[in-house]
Subunit: 347 residues, 2 copies
């Protein structure tokens, strides 16, 4: 692997006590090109401008998918990545559906590890901070015809981040716009899924909400995701989350929380949750908690749910399951609790 | 408008008798940036590499949409563009749904006209050839957080092209994968719609077809589009095409063909066409013709339709409606027939 170091680190120009999510990039990036039907040798180089053309395929036809994961500074000062092989596999699942070439595991993992070792100082030391890692692949041929690209580029960027969503959020159950359909690409982290979600979210924000709860494509009758996160609700003493399908992202945080809750012998169920059931539970007080689950925010508590001109308050207890889960995950990530699932990958 | 001319034209390096669609770019391009909530002054510059970063928003979140239209060399040697204002309006419809800023008409039209005047020699002189025009807009902030971009870039590229689909194509009625959903972005020319369609199309190609006929998101019971084109079928003496919805692109070629057919007093109907109706008509011989309608190919005749292990042959008569329509549109575009709908926009 060719490594070109930056002549001068930019780390002193970044205020680590005041990080905006995804705005600051570490000194280096990993880049690997797919050309003539084969992956070329990967390369680490300084983060910065590159030469591209406006005929870049991905800008026109959206063959592009990404991942998000995090490296943590453990209590002993060492750096560890949370479940990187799961993100690697999911990126290839997205890639397959978007007809992009599979990324070999050694290119992904060796590139990631070399990059993190080189930029290890960029992993923040403060609590609730981490180094967000963004592996992504996009179509990079330079032609404008509606057919698959021939060339692809796989890149890993990293960015030091603080907490993502401060506080609890009020969300709206979406009954007009749709994020995903059966037979579509909703289960992938395709770029196009996000671009299509901004307008409905903007409309919800105009109505005083922070995000939407997406519902199914046929009748808007079942809840599916919350914004860009998986959703979990607690009704009575049961934790419920919608089952995976080709419309729902197989969240790695979602999977980790399911495993953690089952290990704790909580009653946790993957099953359909109708809007009617959720609204009834909110109305009669049996809805005890609701939260989003995702890499960026880990757990994002919901304190209000809007549906057809009504707004229901949702409790956000300090000693509730959401906080217990967040604490449990954080302790594993920072090395304060045993990593019994072997989730942490030391660099 | 700032205009920087190329020091040396590349036109002599292009073989105009052997053009691959979308591979050759004319000497110049038009670029206009949206920054700090406002469109900046547009600029014409030589087509070529530009400095971008891999954190470019559109590569991650797919806020990106394009248009396709064509400039024709008329019989008198002058150059004329087909319905550019309709493409302009549709690009803004796509942009609205993707939460991108509206492009002012003067930026679009003045940029387009100045660019075409400068590169007029790139409009091919041969029959069935044209200058394909690709206006597009994409999100160009450089951060990686799943929220709308702040900056956008509007670009016009042009590319001399020959005929798009030579001959007739065999298509498969898709009953598993889905292109669009109600409440989604299927009616836009969002980049993400195309990236999501490549894999199902690839599967169809592996089965011996050239394209898929997309069906509805709920039951795969009604036909919607054919590949990247609108679809029209002739059953008996009626020309049928599915009605517009938020799942179907409001094709400008589709609209032109509807107007032309109505002007010719043909029986043309926009109505739901079930797969059952289409298959029955193919089986009993009342399906007389079928074709795709789009800017790139204009009319693309279908000679076979596959559905669940059966393949039905579709006639492609030389004196059929498809050929009559193609000839009619071509004569308007090349100035051989009266432009009674005022579709042609001279440069």
């Amino acid at each position: 692997m060719k490594i070109t170091r930056t002549p001068k680190s930019r780390i002193d120009s970044v205020d680590f006590s005041n990080l905006t999510f995804g705005q600051n990039f570490a000194d280096h990036m990993f880049v690997c090109q797919y050309k003539n039907g084969a992956w070329q040798e990967g390369e680490i180089m300084p983060y910065g401008k590159v030469n591209l053309s406006y005929s870049l395929h991905a800008l026109h036809y959206g063959q592009a998918a990404f991942e998000g994961m995090k490296a943590y500074r453990k209590a002993d000062g060492k750096v560890s990545v949370f479940r990187p092989l799961d993100n690697f596999r999911r990126l290839n699942i997205s890639g397959e559906r978007l007809l992009m070439p599979q990324i070999p595991e050694d290119i992904f993992m060796e590139g990631l590890m070399a990059l993190l070792k080189l930029d290890e100082e960029w992993v923040p030391k403060s609590a609730d901070h981490s180094l967000y890692i963004r592996p992504f692949i996009f179509s990079s041929s330079e032609f404008i015809a509606a057919r698959p690209s021939e060339d692809y580029t796989f890149v890993i960027l990293t960015s030091p981040v603080g907490p993502y969503y401060p506080g609890s959020v009020k969300v709206k159950i979406e009954d007009k716009f749709t994020r995903a359909t059966s037979g579509g690409i909703g289960f992938t982290k395709a770029a196009g899924n996000y671009g299509g979600a901004f307008y409905p979210t903007h409309k919800a924000i105009e109505e005083g909400f922070k995000q939407v709860i997406w519902t199914d494509h046929k009748e808007h009758k079942y809840i599916e995701e919350s914004g860009t996160m998986n959703i979990m609700v607690r009704i009575g003493d049961s934790l419920l989350t919608p089952p995976l399908s080709d419309r729902i992202l197989a969240g790695i945080t979602r999977d980790s929380i399911l495993k953690l809750c089952r290990d704790w012998n909580l009653d946790v169920q993957e099953r359909l949750i109708s809007v009617d059931e959720l609204v009834s539970a909110a109305r009669d007080g049996s809805l005890k908690e609701a939260f989003g689950m995702g890499t960026a925010a880990v757990v994002s508590t919901i304190d209000g749910i809007g549906y057809k001109n009504e707004i229901f308050t949702v409790p956000t207890p300090k000693d509730g399951f959401a906080m217990k889960i967040k604490k449990g995950l954080t302790e594993i990530r920072t090395g304060l609790a045993e990593d019994k699932f072997s989730w942490m990958h030391n660099i």
